[in-house]
Assembly symmetry: C2
Homo-oligomer: 304 residues x 2
């Protein structure tokens, strides 16, 4: 228990530090506005630090949230795992950034740690990208960076977690993926103490990868000029992002169903999303080319 | 069966006529643009006439849909009713209008008829209003009109169906109603042939009530000036409309889960919806007064 307690403290401490670093880094790129912090407490135990930014020069709306909550394990989870009542502890960092410029992609990261008083624990999370316009070289860069992080820990991680992201971020009713995916994983666990440490190092490294990856994607595209029509397209793509998050995302559903903190759960939603009846981009247009990329199982690594 | 067949034909014919009349009426008010029609067929049987209008002077985005579908009854429904396999037939008119001017409310109507080959049938539907700003006199007018239609058929309908709407259009995770409600009902049925005719007349009258009611609400408010801040508020309210429809609306969920026609199901979604982290209107502002009205069980009839 002593070891576990130490681990918990280390994880939440490093998660908070990571939140600090990412906010600082994004403020530096954004230049025009800073994150506001909203501290909140969870009635059942624990709380969080929600940090949000809006109407920036680069970031139109973004959230970088830390939370650390605990209490009796939700009954639905105990039931699905066939476990007796216990207490749980969960901590994580969650990020969604909606940029001003349609050439800059939306990014999402979530890394989290969960444990129960019976010793069961797991890590979950991932990073994925939703470009309004898919730029091949950016997509290749993004996936290569993720593969590099994965490969330091397990040569099978990238392939496995990339597929997991493709399957998870799929909008069935649109027959398209939310974006170009990335990596996604859940319930990473091991009985060996040193392997737990390995998993934790992987999670932390992934978290540390966020800022350099997104900074690069922003730098490449933030100053590209765009038209009002391209912005309209950005708003339509944000509409799809909303559809995924509200209809399909399991975390959102779980949060809303279990009386989670609505403002923190829905901080992922964009400013100015739009819907048009049966919008079809012109053939061979950049918009149509983007749609053609919104399919599963594209191999971005061996593709250039 | 002959009687049933006649009834089916009458219902779908009148529904189509109603769609025609409502589209014509709305085009007359909108003046600047007309509905486009999209005819579609359902792979399993039947099809529909989706009519949509966008970027009008009064209506920013609107849909007036008719559908008439049939085929094997969905298994989930048979299971919930504990019935053997059968065929079903369903027809309905569905409307959602998002106006340009934030003083004009969003309106939604749905009237539908459903039957199965074993003779089981029901009517469902309702009309409800989602003002961006609640205007008391408009809310009273709206509810009085609905009560008048209800009272012609059953003195208990309005109270019962008004409560049903309050309960149905409730956004639990926001602890607010979607708008000021209206009436909502489902599975209205009777074993008596003449009572079926009565129910049908009620449905048809409700459908016929839509145009005069909404025309009045538009006429009262379409020319009221509004500021950019009021438009921002309109976009935020549209965000809540999206949340209800994608997270909670049973029809939307059923449609998406059963591979319904996505574009017709999601025609309800607005142009330019927006989300802001933890937006709180100023105390005593018109926005705050509107939020105070978004609660269940307001008696609009005995309130003036």
């Amino acid at each position: 228990m002593d070891y576990l307690f130490k681990m918990k403290t280390e994880i939440s401490t490093k998660f908070k530090k990571l939140q600090d670093q990412i906010c600082l880094g994004l403020e530096k790129i954004n230049t025009s506005s800073k994150f506001s912090e909203d501290l909140w407490e969870r009635p059942g135990g624990g709380g969080g630090r929600s940090r949000t930014l809006a109407k920036g020069k680069v970031i139109q709306k973004g959230g970088v949230n830390f939370s650390e909550v605990s209490g009796p394990t939700p009954k639905s989870l105990l039931k699905s795992l066939v476990l007796p009542p216990s207490d749980f502890y969960a901590t994580g960092v969650s990020i969604v950034i909606h940029p001003v410029n349609p050439w800059v992609p939306i990014i999402h990261m979530n890394i989290r740690y969960f444990e129960m008083s019976d010793g069961t624990y797991w890590f979950g999370g991932g990073i994925d990208l939703t470009p309004h316009y898919v730029i091949e070289s950016d997509a290749i860069f993004f996936h290569k960076q993720l593969k590099e992080i994965c490969d330091q820990y397990d040569s099978g991680y990238y392939a496995q977690f990339k597929k997991w992201a493709d399957d998870y971020f799929f909008i069935k009713h649109r027959n398209e993926t939310r974006g170009i995916g990335g990596i996604f994983f859940d319930r990473l666990s091991s009985q060996e103490a040193n392997e737990k440490e390995q998993l934790w190092q992987f999670i932390l490294n992934l978290g540390n990868g966020f800022l350099p990856i997104y900074t690069e994607l922003i730098s490449r595209n933030r100053d590209r000029p765009f038209t009002i029509e391209q912005q309209d397209w950005q708003y339509l793509r944000r509409g799809r992002y909303v559809e995924f998050n509200l209809v399909l995302d399991k975390g959102t559903k779980f949060g809303l169903d279990t009386d989670g903190r609505t403002e923190s759960i829905l901080m992922s939603l964009p400013p100015f999303a739009s819907w048009e009846y049966n919008h079809q981009p012109e053939k061979e247009s950049p918009e149509a080319r983007t749609l053609a990329y919104l399919v599963k199982d594209i191999d971005w690594i061996n593709n250039d």
